[in-house]
Protein backbone atom coordinates (compact mmCIF):
# COMPACT_ATOMS: atom_id res chain seq x y z
CA UNK A 1 0.00 0.00 0.00
CA UNK A 2 1.33 3.42 -0.92
CA UNK A 3 1.93 5.84 1.94
CA UNK A 4 3.57 8.64 -0.02
CA UNK A 5 3.16 9.42 -3.68
CA UNK A 6 5.18 12.11 -5.43
CA UNK A 7 4.41 12.81 -9.06
CA UNK A 8 5.95 15.28 -11.47
CA UNK A 9 7.42 17.45 -8.74
CA UNK A 10 9.27 20.56 -9.91
CA UNK A 11 10.58 23.68 -8.24
CA UNK A 12 11.87 26.95 -9.69
CA UNK A 13 13.18 29.78 -7.60
CA UNK A 14 14.78 33.15 -8.14
CA UNK A 15 18.31 33.43 -6.86
CA UNK A 16 18.41 36.17 -4.24
CA UNK A 17 21.84 37.45 -5.34
CA UNK A 18 21.93 37.17 -9.10
CA UNK A 19 18.21 37.49 -9.69
CA UNK A 20 18.21 34.71 -12.26
CA UNK A 21 15.61 32.01 -12.25
CA UNK A 22 16.89 28.60 -11.33
CA UNK A 23 15.20 25.25 -11.74
CA UNK A 24 16.19 23.31 -8.66
CA UNK A 25 13.99 20.29 -9.26
CA UNK A 26 13.21 19.32 -12.83
CA UNK A 27 10.84 16.39 -12.62
CA UNK A 28 10.79 14.02 -9.69
CA UNK A 29 8.34 11.15 -9.19
CA UNK A 30 8.45 8.22 -6.80
CA UNK A 31 6.39 6.40 -4.22
CA UNK A 32 7.04 5.13 -0.71
CA UNK A 33 5.09 2.11 0.50
CA UNK A 34 3.66 1.82 3.97
CA UNK A 35 6.30 0.48 6.35
CA UNK A 36 9.07 1.12 3.87
CA UNK A 37 12.36 2.95 4.48
CA UNK A 38 13.32 5.05 1.46
CA UNK A 39 16.38 7.30 1.25
CA UNK A 40 17.10 10.03 -1.24
CA UNK A 41 20.66 10.73 -2.33
CA UNK A 42 22.14 13.18 -4.76
CA UNK A 43 25.10 15.41 -5.49
CA UNK A 44 25.28 18.45 -3.20
CA UNK A 45 22.95 21.23 -4.23
CA UNK A 46 20.64 18.88 -6.13
CA UNK A 47 17.64 19.87 -4.04
CA UNK A 48 17.03 16.74 -2.00
CA UNK A 49 16.26 18.79 1.07
CA UNK A 50 13.94 20.90 -1.04
CA UNK A 51 12.07 17.71 -1.96
CA UNK A 52 11.67 16.98 1.74
CA UNK A 53 10.60 20.54 2.49
CA UNK A 54 7.95 20.32 -0.21
CA UNK A 55 6.66 17.02 1.14
CA UNK A 56 6.61 18.48 4.66
CA UNK A 57 4.67 21.45 3.30
CA UNK A 58 7.26 24.04 4.32
CA UNK A 59 7.97 25.03 0.73
CA UNK A 60 5.51 25.32 -2.11
CA UNK A 61 6.29 23.37 -5.26
CA UNK A 62 6.13 24.90 -8.72
CA UNK A 63 4.49 21.85 -10.24
CA UNK A 64 3.43 18.31 -9.41
CA UNK A 65 1.58 16.79 -6.51
CA UNK A 66 2.35 15.24 -3.13
CA UNK A 67 -0.11 12.67 -1.80
CA UNK A 68 0.00 11.17 1.66
CA UNK A 69 -2.33 8.22 2.23
CA UNK A 70 -4.06 9.13 -1.01
CA UNK A 71 -4.82 12.75 -0.02
CA UNK A 72 -3.14 15.71 -1.71
CA UNK A 73 -1.26 17.71 0.91
CA UNK A 74 -0.94 21.45 1.18
CA UNK A 75 0.99 22.96 4.08
CA UNK A 76 2.52 21.23 7.09
CA UNK A 77 0.47 18.72 9.06
CA UNK A 78 0.78 16.05 11.74
CA UNK A 79 0.48 13.26 9.15
CA UNK A 80 4.10 14.05 8.18
CA UNK A 81 6.45 14.28 11.13
CA UNK A 82 9.84 15.87 10.49
CA UNK A 83 13.18 15.09 12.15
CA UNK A 84 15.49 18.05 11.53
CA UNK A 85 19.23 18.17 11.14
CA UNK A 86 19.30 20.92 13.76
CA UNK A 87 17.07 18.77 16.02
CA UNK A 88 14.64 21.72 16.43
CA UNK A 89 13.69 20.70 19.93
CA UNK A 90 11.77 23.19 22.07
CA UNK A 91 14.40 24.45 24.53
CA UNK A 92 11.74 25.52 27.05
CA UNK A 93 10.12 22.10 27.26
CA UNK A 94 11.49 19.08 29.07
CA UNK A 95 12.30 15.86 27.24
CA UNK A 96 8.86 14.56 28.15
CA UNK A 97 7.22 17.84 27.15
CA UNK A 98 8.90 17.66 23.75
CA UNK A 99 7.91 14.04 23.20
CA UNK A 100 4.29 14.70 24.17
CA UNK A 101 3.97 17.90 22.14
CA UNK A 102 2.23 16.39 19.14
CA UNK A 103 -0.18 14.43 21.32
CA UNK A 104 -1.05 17.62 23.17
CA UNK A 105 -1.84 19.26 19.87
CA UNK A 106 -4.19 16.35 19.19
CA UNK A 107 -5.82 16.92 22.59
CA UNK A 108 -4.95 13.47 23.88
CA UNK A 109 -5.76 13.38 27.63
CA UNK A 110 -2.70 14.03 29.88
CA UNK A 111 -2.44 10.54 31.40
CA UNK A 112 -2.55 8.82 28.07
CA UNK A 113 -0.17 11.16 26.30
CA UNK A 114 2.37 10.85 29.08
CA UNK A 115 2.20 7.06 28.85
CA UNK A 116 2.64 7.15 25.08
CA UNK A 117 5.48 9.66 25.27
CA UNK A 118 7.28 7.58 27.89
CA UNK A 119 6.86 4.48 25.77
CA UNK A 120 8.56 6.09 22.79
CA UNK A 121 11.28 7.68 24.92
CA UNK A 122 12.08 4.24 26.20
CA UNK A 123 12.06 2.90 22.64
CA UNK A 124 14.79 5.34 21.60
CA UNK A 125 16.75 4.83 24.83
CA UNK A 126 15.87 8.00 26.68
CA UNK A 127 14.15 6.46 29.70
CA UNK A 128 15.26 8.29 32.83
CA UNK A 129 15.84 11.60 31.05
CA UNK A 130 12.18 12.68 31.05
CA UNK A 131 12.66 15.76 33.18
CA UNK A 132 15.87 17.05 31.62
CA UNK A 133 15.91 20.00 29.25
CA UNK A 134 17.18 19.47 25.69
CA UNK A 135 20.35 21.49 26.20
CA UNK A 136 21.34 19.09 28.96
CA UNK A 137 21.44 16.21 26.46
CA UNK A 138 24.28 15.34 24.10
CA UNK A 139 23.78 15.84 20.38
CA UNK A 140 23.07 12.18 19.81
CA UNK A 141 20.49 12.08 22.59
CA UNK A 142 18.88 15.22 21.28
CA UNK A 143 18.35 13.53 17.95
CA UNK A 144 16.93 10.45 19.64
CA UNK A 145 14.42 12.80 21.22
CA UNK A 146 13.74 14.29 17.79
CA UNK A 147 12.86 10.81 16.54
CA UNK A 148 10.76 9.94 19.62
CA UNK A 149 8.84 13.19 19.31
CA UNK A 150 7.80 12.34 15.77
CA UNK A 151 7.10 8.65 16.34
CA UNK A 152 4.94 9.36 19.41
CA UNK A 153 2.72 11.37 17.13
CA UNK A 154 2.27 8.31 14.87
CA UNK A 155 2.47 10.10 11.52
CA UNK A 156 1.78 8.44 8.17
CA UNK A 157 5.35 9.25 7.14
CA UNK A 158 8.41 10.22 9.13
CA UNK A 159 10.56 12.67 7.15
CA UNK A 160 14.20 12.83 8.18
CA UNK A 161 16.43 15.64 6.91
CA UNK A 162 20.08 14.57 7.26
CA UNK A 163 19.37 13.88 10.92
CA UNK A 164 22.84 12.60 11.81
CA UNK A 165 24.93 15.00 9.74
CA UNK A 166 25.96 17.18 12.68
CA UNK A 167 26.82 14.26 14.97
CA UNK A 168 30.30 12.79 15.46
CA UNK A 169 31.18 9.67 13.49
CA UNK A 170 31.13 7.15 16.35
CA UNK A 171 27.82 8.28 17.77
CA UNK A 172 26.40 8.40 14.26
CA UNK A 173 27.07 4.67 13.74
CA UNK A 174 25.27 3.88 16.98
CA UNK A 175 22.33 6.11 16.11
CA UNK A 176 22.00 4.50 12.70
CA UNK A 177 21.90 1.05 14.25
CA UNK A 178 19.34 2.17 16.80
CA UNK A 179 17.22 3.75 14.11
CA UNK A 180 17.30 0.50 12.15
CA UNK A 181 16.31 -1.42 15.27
CA UNK A 182 13.38 0.95 15.93
CA UNK A 183 12.38 0.68 12.30
CA UNK A 184 12.51 -3.12 12.30
CA UNK A 185 10.47 -3.17 15.51
CA UNK A 186 7.76 -0.65 14.62
CA UNK A 187 7.86 -0.44 10.84
CA UNK A 188 7.04 3.24 10.43
CA UNK A 189 7.19 4.70 6.92
CA UNK A 190 10.40 6.69 6.61
CA UNK A 191 11.63 9.12 3.98
CA UNK A 192 15.28 9.88 4.65
CA UNK A 193 17.47 12.59 3.13
CA UNK A 194 21.22 12.05 3.30
CA UNK A 195 24.48 12.61 1.44
CA UNK A 196 26.16 9.59 3.05
CA UNK A 197 26.01 6.63 0.66
CA UNK A 198 26.80 3.95 3.26
CA UNK A 199 24.18 5.39 5.56
CA UNK A 200 21.57 5.28 2.80
CA UNK A 201 22.37 1.67 1.89
CA UNK A 202 22.55 0.52 5.48
CA UNK A 203 19.22 2.00 6.50
CA UNK A 204 17.03 1.71 3.42
CA UNK A 205 14.81 -0.65 1.52
CA UNK A 206 15.21 1.53 -1.56
CA UNK A 207 17.51 4.43 -2.42
CA UNK A 208 16.43 7.18 -4.82
CA UNK A 209 19.41 8.68 -6.63
CA UNK A 210 18.92 12.17 -8.01
CA UNK A 211 20.91 13.85 -10.76
CA UNK A 212 22.45 17.32 -10.51
CA UNK A 213 20.34 20.42 -10.99
CA UNK A 214 17.72 20.53 -12.44
CA UNK A 215 17.30 17.21 -10.71
CA UNK A 216 15.44 14.20 -11.98
CA UNK A 217 15.34 10.70 -10.58
CA UNK A 218 18.41 9.03 -12.04
CA UNK A 219 17.69 5.62 -10.66
CA UNK A 220 15.91 3.92 -7.79
CA UNK A 221 18.14 1.25 -6.28
CA UNK A 222 16.51 -1.59 -4.35
CA UNK A 223 18.48 -2.63 -1.28
CA UNK A 224 17.75 -6.27 -0.63
CA UNK A 225 19.91 -6.80 2.41
CA UNK A 226 18.61 -9.06 5.19
CA UNK A 227 17.22 -7.55 8.37
CA UNK A 228 17.97 -7.13 11.24
CA UNK A 229 21.04 -5.19 10.17
CA UNK A 230 24.10 -4.25 12.18
CA UNK A 231 27.15 -2.37 10.91
CA UNK A 232 29.44 -5.26 11.74
CA UNK A 233 27.52 -7.85 9.80
CA UNK A 234 25.86 -5.84 7.07
CA UNK A 235 29.05 -4.17 5.84
CA UNK A 236 30.66 -7.63 5.53
CA UNK A 237 28.11 -8.64 2.91
CA UNK A 238 29.47 -8.41 -0.65
CA UNK A 239 26.04 -7.16 -1.66
CA UNK A 240 26.49 -4.09 0.56
CA UNK A 241 29.77 -3.12 -1.08
CA UNK A 242 28.31 -3.77 -4.46
CA UNK A 243 25.30 -1.49 -3.87
CA UNK A 244 27.46 1.17 -2.34
CA UNK A 245 29.82 1.15 -5.34
CA UNK A 246 26.95 1.20 -7.76
CA UNK A 247 25.46 4.31 -6.13
CA UNK A 248 28.85 6.00 -5.99
CA UNK A 249 29.15 5.44 -9.74
CA UNK A 250 25.70 6.87 -10.35
CA UNK A 251 26.58 9.98 -8.37
CA UNK A 252 30.03 10.65 -9.78
CA UNK A 253 28.96 9.77 -13.31
CA UNK A 254 26.22 12.35 -13.04
CA UNK A 255 28.59 15.10 -12.03
CA UNK A 256 30.35 15.12 -15.38
CA UNK A 257 27.54 15.83 -17.74
CA UNK A 258 26.19 18.89 -15.97
CA UNK A 259 28.24 22.04 -15.93
CA UNK A 260 27.37 25.59 -14.87
CA UNK A 261 27.73 26.50 -18.55
CA UNK A 262 24.74 24.39 -19.49
CA UNK A 263 21.74 26.46 -18.57
CA UNK A 264 18.42 24.68 -18.19
CA UNK A 265 16.66 27.33 -20.26
Amino acid sequence: MTALEISGLSKDYVDAYTGEEITAIGDVSFTVDRGEFVSILGPSGCGKTTVLNIIAGFVKQTGGTVKVGGRVVDGPGPDRGVVFQSHALFPWKTVLGNAAFGLRMKRVPPKQREATAREYLELVGLAGFEHKYPHELSGGMQQRLGVARVLANEPDVMLMDEPFASIDAQTRRKLQEDLTRVFELRRPTVFFVTHDIDEAVFLSDRVIVLSTRPSIVREIVTVDLPRPRTWRETTQLPEFRHLSNRITELLTGGAEDVHPAIDPD
Binding site: A56, P76, G77, P78, F90, W92, G102, N153
Partner: protein, 279 residues
Protein backbone atom coordinates in the same frame (compact mmCIF):
# COMPACT_ATOMS: atom_id res chain seq x y z
CA UNK B 1 22.46 45.64 30.09
CA UNK B 2 21.34 42.19 29.18
CA UNK B 3 24.75 40.82 29.75
CA UNK B 4 25.16 40.67 33.50
CA UNK B 5 24.52 36.95 33.80
CA UNK B 6 27.51 36.16 31.68
CA UNK B 7 30.07 37.44 34.14
CA UNK B 8 28.77 35.36 37.02
CA UNK B 9 28.60 32.29 34.81
CA UNK B 10 32.33 32.46 34.28
CA UNK B 11 34.29 30.37 36.77
CA UNK B 12 36.15 32.66 39.10
CA UNK B 13 39.74 32.05 40.04
CA UNK B 14 39.74 33.38 43.56
CA UNK B 15 42.60 33.53 46.03
CA UNK B 16 43.03 30.23 47.82
CA UNK B 17 43.07 31.22 51.49
CA UNK B 18 39.64 32.20 52.84
CA UNK B 19 37.86 30.44 50.03
CA UNK B 20 34.59 29.71 51.76
CA UNK B 21 34.09 33.35 52.69
CA UNK B 22 34.89 34.58 49.20
CA UNK B 23 32.53 32.13 47.59
CA UNK B 24 29.59 33.25 49.70
CA UNK B 25 27.40 35.27 47.30
CA UNK B 26 26.41 37.86 49.89
CA UNK B 27 30.03 38.55 50.76
CA UNK B 28 30.98 38.63 47.12
CA UNK B 29 28.25 41.12 46.29
CA UNK B 30 28.40 43.38 49.33
CA UNK B 31 32.07 42.95 50.24
CA UNK B 32 33.43 45.43 47.70
CA UNK B 33 31.24 48.15 49.15
CA UNK B 34 33.01 48.00 52.51
CA UNK B 35 36.37 49.44 51.38
CA UNK B 36 34.55 51.96 49.19
CA UNK B 37 32.55 53.25 52.13
CA UNK B 38 35.72 53.32 54.26
CA UNK B 39 37.53 55.32 51.60
CA UNK B 40 34.58 57.68 51.37
CA UNK B 41 34.66 58.12 55.15
CA UNK B 42 38.38 58.75 55.12
CA UNK B 43 38.07 61.38 52.37
CA UNK B 44 35.38 63.15 54.36
CA UNK B 45 37.26 62.97 57.68
CA UNK B 46 40.47 64.31 56.15
CA UNK B 47 38.51 67.23 54.65
CA UNK B 48 39.94 66.59 51.19
CA UNK B 49 36.92 68.34 49.69
CA UNK B 50 35.09 71.28 51.27
CA UNK B 51 32.19 70.23 53.50
CA UNK B 52 29.68 72.13 51.36
CA UNK B 53 30.40 69.74 48.47
CA UNK B 54 31.17 66.49 50.19
CA UNK B 55 29.97 64.81 53.36
CA UNK B 56 30.89 61.53 55.01
CA UNK B 57 28.75 58.42 55.36
CA UNK B 58 28.01 59.23 59.01
CA UNK B 59 26.31 62.48 58.03
CA UNK B 60 24.31 60.68 55.34
CA UNK B 61 23.18 58.02 57.80
CA UNK B 62 22.15 60.77 60.20
CA UNK B 63 20.22 62.45 57.41
CA UNK B 64 18.59 59.13 56.58
CA UNK B 65 17.43 58.64 60.19
CA UNK B 66 16.18 62.21 60.30
CA UNK B 67 14.18 61.97 57.09
CA UNK B 68 12.79 58.58 58.04
CA UNK B 69 11.67 59.93 61.39
CA UNK B 70 9.98 62.91 59.79
CA UNK B 71 8.37 60.59 57.27
CA UNK B 72 9.66 62.66 54.35
CA UNK B 73 11.69 59.89 52.77
CA UNK B 74 9.02 57.16 52.97
CA UNK B 75 6.50 59.58 51.49
CA UNK B 76 8.73 60.60 48.57
CA UNK B 77 9.84 57.05 48.03
CA UNK B 78 6.30 55.77 47.75
CA UNK B 79 5.49 58.66 45.37
CA UNK B 80 8.37 57.68 43.12
CA UNK B 81 7.56 53.99 43.23
CA UNK B 82 3.87 54.61 42.55
CA UNK B 83 4.75 56.63 39.45
CA UNK B 84 7.17 53.98 38.27
CA UNK B 85 4.58 51.26 38.83
CA UNK B 86 1.91 53.13 36.89
CA UNK B 87 4.40 53.74 34.12
CA UNK B 88 5.57 50.14 33.98
CA UNK B 89 2.01 48.79 34.24
CA UNK B 90 0.67 50.86 31.36
CA UNK B 91 3.92 50.38 29.48
CA UNK B 92 3.53 46.60 29.58
CA UNK B 93 -0.16 46.83 28.81
CA UNK B 94 0.58 48.79 25.65
CA UNK B 95 3.97 47.36 24.74
CA UNK B 96 3.24 43.63 24.90
CA UNK B 97 0.31 43.46 22.48
CA UNK B 98 1.81 46.13 20.26
CA UNK B 99 5.14 44.33 20.14
CA UNK B 100 3.68 40.99 19.18
CA UNK B 101 1.28 42.56 16.70
CA UNK B 102 4.15 44.29 14.94
CA UNK B 103 6.41 41.26 15.15
CA UNK B 104 3.83 38.90 13.69
CA UNK B 105 2.75 40.97 10.70
CA UNK B 106 5.09 41.67 7.85
CA UNK B 107 3.25 44.81 6.78
CA UNK B 108 2.90 46.18 10.30
CA UNK B 109 6.63 45.73 10.68
CA UNK B 110 7.45 47.30 7.40
CA UNK B 111 5.28 50.34 8.07
CA UNK B 112 6.14 50.93 11.70
CA UNK B 113 9.76 49.85 12.05
CA UNK B 114 11.34 53.13 10.89
CA UNK B 115 8.90 55.06 13.07
CA UNK B 116 9.76 52.91 16.06
CA UNK B 117 13.45 53.61 15.55
CA UNK B 118 12.74 57.30 15.21
CA UNK B 119 10.51 57.57 18.28
CA UNK B 120 12.96 55.52 20.26
CA UNK B 121 15.61 58.02 19.15
CA UNK B 122 13.71 61.04 20.46
CA UNK B 123 15.04 60.71 23.97
CA UNK B 124 12.09 60.16 26.30
CA UNK B 125 13.02 63.18 28.38
CA UNK B 126 12.67 65.39 25.33
CA UNK B 127 8.95 64.63 25.51
CA UNK B 128 8.65 66.18 28.92
CA UNK B 129 8.22 69.79 27.74
CA UNK B 130 5.40 69.03 25.31
CA UNK B 131 3.80 66.66 27.81
CA UNK B 132 3.85 69.43 30.40
CA UNK B 133 2.12 71.66 27.87
CA UNK B 134 -0.57 69.01 27.46
CA UNK B 135 -1.07 67.74 30.98
CA UNK B 136 0.54 70.36 33.22
CA UNK B 137 2.91 69.45 36.03
CA UNK B 138 1.04 66.29 36.94
CA UNK B 139 1.26 62.57 37.54
CA UNK B 140 -0.09 62.04 34.03
CA UNK B 141 2.87 63.90 32.57
CA UNK B 142 5.38 61.80 34.48
CA UNK B 143 3.54 58.56 33.71
CA UNK B 144 3.41 59.42 30.02
CA UNK B 145 7.17 59.79 29.88
CA UNK B 146 7.81 56.53 31.74
CA UNK B 147 5.33 54.62 29.57
CA UNK B 148 7.11 56.06 26.57
CA UNK B 149 10.51 54.92 27.80
CA UNK B 150 9.28 51.40 28.43
CA UNK B 151 7.16 50.80 25.36
CA UNK B 152 9.87 51.29 22.76
CA UNK B 153 12.63 49.04 24.09
CA UNK B 154 9.93 46.49 24.86
CA UNK B 155 8.50 46.53 21.35
CA UNK B 156 11.95 46.47 19.77
CA UNK B 157 12.93 43.62 22.09
CA UNK B 158 9.86 41.59 21.18
CA UNK B 159 10.35 42.10 17.46
CA UNK B 160 14.01 41.09 17.73
CA UNK B 161 13.04 38.12 19.88
CA UNK B 162 10.40 36.88 17.48
CA UNK B 163 12.84 37.23 14.61
CA UNK B 164 15.36 35.13 16.49
CA UNK B 165 13.01 32.20 16.98
CA UNK B 166 14.55 29.54 14.70
CA UNK B 167 12.38 28.84 11.67
CA UNK B 168 12.90 25.12 12.22
CA UNK B 169 11.16 25.29 15.60
CA UNK B 170 8.07 26.80 14.02
CA UNK B 171 8.21 24.19 11.28
CA UNK B 172 8.61 21.41 13.85
CA UNK B 173 5.56 22.60 15.75
CA UNK B 174 3.53 22.93 12.55
CA UNK B 175 4.39 19.42 11.42
CA UNK B 176 3.47 18.11 14.87
CA UNK B 177 -0.02 19.44 14.32
CA UNK B 178 0.11 22.88 15.96
CA UNK B 179 -2.19 25.50 14.46
CA UNK B 180 -1.30 29.17 14.18
CA UNK B 181 -2.47 30.06 17.67
CA UNK B 182 -0.62 27.13 19.22
CA UNK B 183 2.54 28.00 17.32
CA UNK B 184 2.25 31.52 18.66
CA UNK B 185 1.64 30.50 22.27
CA UNK B 186 3.95 27.51 22.46
CA UNK B 187 6.84 28.50 20.22
CA UNK B 188 6.95 32.19 19.44
CA UNK B 189 6.14 33.61 22.88
CA UNK B 190 8.57 31.42 24.85
CA UNK B 191 11.17 31.81 22.11
CA UNK B 192 10.94 35.59 22.33
CA UNK B 193 10.94 35.66 26.14
CA UNK B 194 14.66 36.23 26.76
CA UNK B 195 14.80 39.08 24.31
CA UNK B 196 11.53 40.43 25.73
CA UNK B 197 13.02 40.27 29.23
CA UNK B 198 16.08 42.20 28.22
CA UNK B 199 13.79 44.70 26.50
CA UNK B 200 11.93 45.19 29.79
CA UNK B 201 15.23 45.54 31.56
CA UNK B 202 16.52 48.18 29.17
CA UNK B 203 13.15 49.92 29.35
CA UNK B 204 13.16 49.95 33.12
CA UNK B 205 16.70 51.29 33.13
CA UNK B 206 15.62 54.19 30.94
CA UNK B 207 12.32 54.56 32.81
CA UNK B 208 14.08 54.86 36.11
CA UNK B 209 16.27 57.66 34.78
CA UNK B 210 13.33 59.36 33.11
CA UNK B 211 11.47 59.27 36.41
CA UNK B 212 14.31 61.02 38.20
CA UNK B 213 14.64 63.62 35.44
CA UNK B 214 10.89 64.19 35.36
CA UNK B 215 10.75 64.59 39.11
CA UNK B 216 13.57 67.11 38.98
CA UNK B 217 11.93 69.08 36.20
CA UNK B 218 8.27 68.70 37.14
CA UNK B 219 9.27 68.97 40.77
CA UNK B 220 6.42 68.33 43.15
CA UNK B 221 7.54 65.25 45.07
CA UNK B 222 9.55 62.07 44.80
CA UNK B 223 13.18 61.11 45.32
CA UNK B 224 14.35 63.06 42.26
CA UNK B 225 12.58 66.15 43.54
CA UNK B 226 14.04 65.62 46.99
CA UNK B 227 17.55 65.55 45.59
CA UNK B 228 17.15 68.63 43.47
CA UNK B 229 15.38 70.50 46.21
CA UNK B 230 18.25 69.65 48.55
CA UNK B 231 20.72 70.81 45.92
CA UNK B 232 18.91 74.14 45.71
CA UNK B 233 19.39 74.78 49.41
CA UNK B 234 22.87 73.25 49.35
CA UNK B 235 22.11 70.22 51.51
CA UNK B 236 24.77 67.83 50.20
CA UNK B 237 23.92 65.06 52.65
CA UNK B 238 20.40 64.82 51.28
CA UNK B 239 21.66 64.72 47.68
CA UNK B 240 24.05 61.90 48.57
CA UNK B 241 21.28 60.10 50.38
CA UNK B 242 18.96 60.41 47.38
CA UNK B 243 21.58 58.91 45.08
CA UNK B 244 22.19 56.01 47.41
CA UNK B 245 18.48 55.34 47.76
CA UNK B 246 18.08 55.33 43.99
CA UNK B 247 21.04 53.01 43.55
CA UNK B 248 19.91 50.56 46.21
CA UNK B 249 16.36 50.48 44.86
CA UNK B 250 17.46 49.77 41.31
CA UNK B 251 20.02 47.25 42.43
CA UNK B 252 17.35 45.45 44.41
CA UNK B 253 14.87 45.43 41.54
CA UNK B 254 17.53 44.22 39.19
CA UNK B 255 18.94 41.54 41.46
CA UNK B 256 15.65 40.30 42.92
CA UNK B 257 13.27 40.48 39.97
CA UNK B 258 14.89 41.00 36.59
CA UNK B 259 18.10 39.02 36.80
CA UNK B 260 16.46 35.83 38.17
CA UNK B 261 13.86 35.96 35.42
CA UNK B 262 16.53 36.30 32.76
CA UNK B 263 18.58 33.55 34.34
CA UNK B 264 15.58 31.26 34.50
CA UNK B 265 14.89 31.56 30.80
CA UNK B 266 18.45 31.74 29.59
CA UNK B 267 20.12 29.17 31.78
CA UNK B 268 17.36 26.69 32.35
CA UNK B 269 16.47 26.50 28.70
CA UNK B 270 20.07 26.72 27.63
CA UNK B 271 19.27 29.42 25.13
CA UNK B 272 22.63 31.12 25.33
CA UNK B 273 24.53 27.92 25.01
CA UNK B 274 22.47 26.98 22.01
CA UNK B 275 23.24 30.30 20.39
CA UNK B 276 26.93 29.88 21.07
CA UNK B 277 27.00 26.41 19.62
CA UNK B 278 25.67 27.88 16.40
CA UNK B 279 28.62 30.14 15.72
Amino acid sequence: MAVTTRASARPKRTVAMPRRILVNPVVRTLGPFVPVVLLWWLLAELDVFPGAFFVGPDTVVGEFAELMRKGVLPGYLSDSLTRLMYGVGFGLLIGLPLGFAIAMSFWARRLTWPLLLFFQAIADIAWLPIVIVWFGFSLTAVTFVIVYTIVFPLVLGIVAGVEQVPRELIRAARSLGAGRLRVFLEVIVPGALPSLASGIRTGLGYGWRALVAAEIIVGTSGVGFMMFDARRVGDVAEVFLGMIVLGVLWYATDALVLAPFERATVERWGLVRQAEAGK
